[in-house]
């Protein structure tokens, strides 16, 4: 299948005032640093990482929803969609929609549910009123809300139902790409399953392409077709679902996966926890070499000096680590064996 979304050399930086900088000098915090990825039509790319890794900024930059300085190219179906003017922005927003994390603050409390779902149609399309109404009715059914709930206000809904409204709103302009920014992390566990199942059902029904941002690796494993792992603004590993979870190569990915608490006692015993000490480095003062070097259990001298490139050595399993070779063996293998 063809690549629907092709993001090349995307960077986002924010100007920050900083002590020590002289008059007129601006220093920059680079939240997303030169990342590239592609998503095939009808598939889900998950971007995972800890808070502060830049995953949300990267995804929102695709939809032109960040305030910082963005550079790079975003291609949708071979067309550059980085808009130059208002009309292009409107056209782009029709094709790229977002489902937000917090269903409480992302819905206007003074609008009725149907107005919220209709809003993108009002703003971005010139459809006649009757057609818009028909679309809204269909969407309410598709996301599992009852027709009589159309007249209610957001506060009359539960968290899960509100997220359904948010999903209906994102679907209203029949977008090609939907960016799901932690769509279930604010919901109760039992409600999470309802929303995740709904998202997958809608994906196969409408042929949607998702960019799915999450810090929950269990959810990611369930939802994604391919995964990009981010650390401090860089993609450190990018591959398909099976390769990532069955053969994680980057030390950070390995540690991240081993940190997830598991209900499966056999899994708990065989994958000894690899604790990575400390916290991520200061984003304004990044280390010269690999950004993970301060927490990496297998770091070597060259890791401190030279930043590794994201490369697959001829395969689709791309990793940014000096210690991964063409045989695709994780450098953590020795650590794991020593621990057992």
């Amino acid at each position: 299948m063809s690549q629907l979304l092709d993001v090349r050399n995307l960077s986002v930086r924010f100007p920050v005032g900083r002590k020590g900088a002289g008059w007129g000098q601006v220093s920059y915090l680079t939240a997303v640093d030169d990342i590239s990825f592609t998503v095939r039509k009808g598939e889900t790319l998950a971007i995972v990482g800890e808070s502060g890794s830049g995953k949300t900024t990267a995804a929102l930059a695709i939809a032109q929803l960040v305030g910082g300085e963005t550079s790079g190219r975003v291609m949708l179906d071979g067309q550059d969609i980085m808009p130059a003017n208002r009309d292009q922005l409107r056209a782009m927003r029709r094709r790229v929609q977002v489902i937000f994390q917090d269903p409480y603050s992302s819905l206007n409390p003074r609008k009725r549910a149907e107005e919220i779902v209709r809003e993108p149609l009002d703003n971005l399309t010139d459809k006649p009123a009757a057609e818009k109404q028909e679309i809204v009715d269909r969407l309410f059914e598709a996301v599992g809300l009852r027709p009589e709930q159309k007249r209610l206000f957001p506060h009359q809904f539960s968290g899960g139902q509100r997220q359904r409204i948010g999903i209906a709103r994102a679907l209203s302009t029949q977008p090609d790409v939907i960016i799901c920014d932690e769509p279930v992390s604010a919901l109760d566990v039992a409600v999470q399953a309802q929303i995740l199942n709904l998202l997958r059902r809608l994906q196969s029904e409408f042929g949607l392409t998702y960019v799915f941002i999450s810090h929950d690796l269990g959810v990611v494993q369930h939802m994604c077709d391919s995964v990009a792992v981010m650390y401090m603004g860089k993609i450190v590993e990018h591959t398909d679902r099976l390769s990532l979870f069955n053969n994680p190569l980057h030390p950070y990915t390995t540690a991240l996966l081993s940190a997830v608490p598991s209900v499966d006692p056999t899994l708990r015993d065989q994958s000894r926890r690899i604790l990575i000490p400390g916290d991520p480095p200061d984003p304004l003062n990044l280390p010269a070499g690999c950004r993970f070097v301060s927490r990496c259990p297998v770091a070597q001298t060259r890791c401190r000096e030279l930043a590794p490139e994201l490369t697959g050595n001829g395969t689709d399993h791309r990793t940014a680590c000096h210690l991964v070779d063409a045989n695709l063996v994780s450098p953590m293998q020795s650590v794991r064996e020593a621990g057992l």
């Binding site: 269990g218 991240l256 608490p261």
Partner: protein, 328 residues
């Protein structure tokens, strides 16, 4: 041996606009010396209320213990004086909260906040309290404690703040540590560090831990026994391994299977997640004489809608409040 903490038929009522609702309805459980138990359930099921009741921190004027007893070392905490309660709180039973960002005072250094506990409860002098605070920061593995002790909370990361909270909670070597969703605001790698720390501290000090969570994975890592709460009632209780291997309550079963868990050897197959339809009932429905889970239960029968289930015991250790526990 007598258990350290024994809760008997506890009923907590909360005043709402619609009337009085029992947020905790006839809850009994025990906690042994050095034991670690977990409360599991969705929000609004009464997990945190149980913790607040043990701490004597129920919202004043709104919540009260209507009946039942909370016996700590033989002393009933529901009737003791406020003064005695203050003595116990922090000294014998202490608590860490979900939000490390908001539970520290932003205008005092972390050192002052740890030393304050030591001065109030252990009558330590200024100097001794400060030295002890440094030791505690070291014990919770904050690097360079001698310097970090002068930091304000905003200068620390989320994980470090939660470590400071743990240092404060453990300052007086409490017999019970209550952790209310201690890691939900943190990243998984930091969560792993905090769990590791709590496990080590427990081994060293023999503190009993009550952990409140909604994450079955965390329960499996941290606790020996778990209590599943639903709508203010105990749905299921038993050893963690037994319950995960064979849950005897449809709600527990749902809680375990509705979450996509990381699996060891991933294949292409992806099944739909098991949904628990609907949501937790509102306070108005609490306390009714029926199974409160019946509206969401896949195995519901008429009996469930008519009477509150009796507790069925399995193997002497696992208890389930379900009419059909045998078949589950």
């Amino acid at each position: 041996m007598e258990p350290l903490l024994k809760v008997e038929n506890l009923r907590i009522e909360l005043k709402t606009r619609a009337g009085v609702a029992p947020v905790i309805d006839d809850l009994s459980f025990e906690l042994g010396h050095g034991e670690s138990i977990s409360f599991v359930g969705e929000s609004g099921c009464g997990k945190s209320m149980t913790a607040l009741a043990i701490m004597g921190l129920l919202p004043e004027g709104i919540g009260r213990v209507a009946s039942g007893r909370i016996l700590f070392d033989g002393e009933d905490l529901t009737v003791v004086s406020d003064r005695r309660l203050r003595d116990i709180r922090g000294n014998e039973i202490s608590m860490i909260f979900q939000e490390p960002m908001t539970s520290l005072n932003p205008v005092y250094t972390v050192g002052e906040q740890i030393a304050e506990v030591l001065r109030a409860h252990q009558n330590l002098g200024q100097k001794a309290a400060w030295a002890m605070a440094t030791e505690l920061l070291d014990a919770v593995r904050i690097p360079n404690p001698g310097r970090r002790i002068n930091d304000y909370p905003f200068q620390m990361s989320g994980g470090q703040r939660q470590r400071v909270m743990i240092a404060i909670a453990l300052a007086c070597k409490p017999k019970i540590l209550i952790a209310d969703e201690p890691t939900t605001a943190l990243d998984v790698t930091v969560q792993a560090q905090i769990f590791d720390l709590l496990r080590d501290l427990r081994r060293q000090t023999g503190t009993s831990i009550i952990m409140i969570t909604h994450d079955m994975g965390a329960v499996a890592e941290m606790a020996e026994r778990m209590i599943v709460m639903y709508a203010g009632r105990k749905a299921e209780e038993g050893p963690v391994a037994d319950i995960i291997a064979h849950a005897r309550h449809p709600y527990t079963r749902g809680l375990i299977s509705c979450v996509p868990h990381i699996v060891a050897n991933l294949t292409d197959a992806r099944e739909e997640l098991t949904e628990i339809p609907g949501i937790v009932p509102g306070l108005g429905e609490f306390g009714q004489d029926r199974c409160l889970f019946s509206a969401r239960c896949p195995q519901v029968t008429d009996k469930c809608r008519k009477a509150r289930p009796e507790t069925a015991i399995f193997g002497g250790r696992q208890a389930s409040a379900c009419w059909h526990a045998e078949e589950v």
